[in-house]
């Protein structure tokens, strides 16, 4: 199966493995206590998930397209957006290069 469909990256198991740390951090934001920890100190919170310097930089920069290129799932990065105040249209348009 081609891994680019409809002009978008297909979220394959291999991409999921590549983005595992970002995705795990983002999915943890379904816990209110984790949202509080993330908002209080994003960098420390992300380090606790073993995220690399490059991965943490993508989140610092709100580089949604970069996060997806690094293996993040759209369904989890909207949870980061839930804590940073970036709704789906902002994230989606960024991944489309329309910003």
């Amino acid at each position: 199966m081609n891994d680019i469909v409809s002009g978008a990256l297909l979220f394959t198991g291999e991409r999921s493995a590549q983005g595992f740390r970002i995705n795990k951090m983002a999915a943890s934001l379904t816990e209110p206590a984790n949202r509080d920890r993330f908002k209080a100190d994003e960098d420390a919170f992300m380090r606790s998930f073993g995220m690399t310097d490059a991965e943490r930089q993508l989140v610092h920069d709100r580089d949604w397209k970069g996060m997806m290129d690094a293996g993040a799932s759209i369904y989890v990065i909207i949870k980061i957006g839930g804590s940073t105040g970036h709704p789906l249209p902002v994230i989606g348009n960024h991944t489309a290069g329309r910003v």
Partner: protein
């Protein structure tokens, strides 16, 4: 013997739950969606189901990619609401049906489907976004949720979902007690949530899909996932879950109601079918 008395196909989206909670039922953008559910709701009130079996997908709220099931069945007595990252909605937990749930588990495994059996199964907007428009939110009708992986590829084929529906039908028909069951297939319709075509819908395909679901579901079961995604976006692949509902209904159905609106990034479809 239990019987399937109806089938519902419905889109699911966080935006729908958000509009409901904000009381936007009469808002010009949302009114066509909310009023569209009213005839289906009236029909359900009339036929009085005892149980909902809801085929849906989890959006990385109950499960994470450390252990991501292709199929997962909720057999518990209660299904809590999952927090999706922005707080829970003001809705009570959903009642389950362990007796039917365990029967369905046994029947599916006998039928060569092997879901992950979940005694705790929190549910997200895949179940809760449309449900308040179709039944009272004190949740008198128990729910057995069946989650399908439509997010992390490999994703099961449209044909596999169709076969799942026939297996659900056999399970219902082999349940020894009287029970009137309505089966739900949820998700879609077309939407593309990222990439160059972000926000693109395909309203012609959405409507053709609902036509074919009623009249020629075999044709839909024959399409590849790539065809679904090329027509309806990578996230539009959720539409295959409607096929499980349709197959559970058996060969012939009678349309009770149909609605379609597309005010945002997703085509919102609703189809109510009687046996």
């Amino acid at each position: 013997m239990a019987t399937i008395i109806g089938g519902i196909g419905s889109s699911h989206a966080p935006t729908i739950g958000n509009a409901y909670d904000k009381g936007l039922q009469k808002d010009p953008m949302w009114e066509p969606l909310f009023t569209g559910y009213e005839p289906a709701r009236a029909w359900l009130d009339e036929i009085k189901p005892d149980l909902f079996v809801i085929i849906y997908n989890d959006h990385v709220n109950r499960f994470f990619f450390d252990a991501w099931p292709t199929f997962a069945l909720g057999v518990g007595a209660v299904h809590k609401q999952a927090d999706e990252g922005w707080g829970k909605r003001p809705l009570p937990d959903l009642p389950g049906d362990p007796e039917f749930g365990w029967h369905l588990a046994r029947s599916l495994v006998d039928d060569e489907f092997d879901p992950t059996i979940c005694q705790e199964m929190s549910v997200d907007h895949g179940v809760l976004s449309f449900l308040p428009m179709l039944t009272d939110t004190d949740w008198k009708i128990p729910v057995v949720p069946l989650a399908v992986n439509v997010i992390q590829h490999p994703v099961p084929s449209a044909r596999r979902l169709f076969k799942l529906g026939t297996a659900i039908r056999r399970a219902v028909e082999s349940f020894p007690k009287d029970k009137k069951v309505v089966v739900f297939g949820t998700g879609g319709l077309t939407h593309q949530l990222h990439g160059k075509q972000f926000g693109q819908k395909n309203q012609a395909w959405d409507n053709e899909f609902m036509d074919l679901l009623e009249s020629d579901p075999e044709q839909l079961a024959s399409l590849s996932l790539t065809e679904y995604m090329e027509r309806g976006g990578t996230e539009g692949v959720e539409m295959i879950m409607w096929l499980a509902m349709r197959a559970a209904m058996g060969p012939t159905v009678k349309r009770v109601h149909r609605n379609y609106t597309a005010p945002l990034t997703t085509g919102y479809g609703l189809l109510a079918l009687a046996s």
